[in-house]
Assembly symmetry: C2
Homo-oligomer: 249 residues x 2
Amino acid sequence: MTISIFGVPGLPEIAAGSDLAAMIAAASTAEGSPIANGDIVVVTSKIVSKAEGRTVELDSVTPSPFAQQFADAWEKEPAIVELVLRESRRVVRQVGPVLITETRHGFVCANSGVDQSSSGAAGRAVLLPEDPDASARGLRRGFQERGADVAVIISDTFGRPWREGQTDIAIGIAGLAPVVSYIGEHDPHGHEFLVQAVCRADELASAGELVKGNLSRVPVAVIRGYDWEPDDEASMQDIIRESERDLFR
Amino acid sequence: MTISIFGVPGLPEIAAGSDLAAMIAAASTAEGSPIANGDIVVVTSKIVSKAEGRTVELDSVTPSPFAQQFADAWEKEPAIVELVLRESRRVVRQVGPVLITETRHGFVCANSGVDQSSSGAAGRAVLLPEDPDASARGLRRGFQERGADVAVIISDTFGRPWREGQTDIAIGIAGLAPVVSYIGEHDPHGHEFLVQAVCRADELASAGELVKGNLSRVPVAVIRGYDWEPDDEASMQDIIRESERDLFR
């Protein structure tokens, strides 16, 4: 099995209401590598958010007294702090200016995923999609309508405790079960796997980043040749760890 | 840019003293895809450990009283608990039977990376390589001697806080700087990246896993077509977060 991974460049600037599946399909066709049956399409969450209108002009945000205090103490933008808090359901760590939060979706990340980069304008922030699984399912339907039965992963860039640097991981998925379990299977010497379950959604998102890059403005990657079975029930709920199973809540 | 990723199957069982670079080069040539200049070779830590003799017969291990107590309490193998403790410099979390430790290298993972699966025999455990960067450099030299200037990543399978499932990440590297920083660069609208640094070593390790798999016994992946500059100073020290910068120590 050889997997190939390539980016889809040439997308126009995405705005609220953009038909992302149509634009990605057109751009991939224009590049000479149209999206095809069996592909996995990895889409950076930022363009999904922008297409869904999940952007906020900072001057429209009234910070709470707490957000204002926090911003003053650490020389942060008060409106950004306010948005980070609104997008969170829990502050996991607050150390100095750093806010690690749990988003309403259940993701633990810096700043609830609120980001000003590549937002399309100065003074504008982008929030994570409201329901990234639904976003992924919508994109999948859009590709299916154009004749390509694909899986879709919405990716975002997260840090990892104990490690420097960030990697792209999955925050939304459609068509592909995100975790493959080997639990109960045996190695050739009879040793039983007790915990092994591969989070392939995160591995695929990371693989996609290798051709995307943050400055090169290629927000979509296509992974071709990976062997997978369609699963219409796929959801990030298989990845988000229940509180009682988590050692680092 | 299109990246291609393929596994190197057909390796013989690895034993202490095996010349891994020679065996991988031979297997890749036999498969018709010889390792070539510019490739990134991702090698599962387990075969590196086995080649380096980092295996232990469990009946040779005398558990400490603490290891014995812990094993009794949670129905674990006392010798395994003993090895996990010996390989660690700190227990990060101990919740029920689960031991999350910091290894002597500075990696935070379950059971100090001690594992019985694919160890080559029942009653045998495999430890992480003593110095995975040195292992990677040795493999890189081995490929260079055979005419291929490549980067080498030693990968292992780690869980991630707050997420289900494990992904392959890097524990040793040679030839390729593991982290690429965008800090101080600007997006097209002038927004400055303040924290962005991509841990591409982990992304490459994850990408490699997509063609390896745990049961298919393909312990080596080749990533071809990724654009990188050789860096002889590359080291995992760029990834391991200093205690004072870490929010989850």
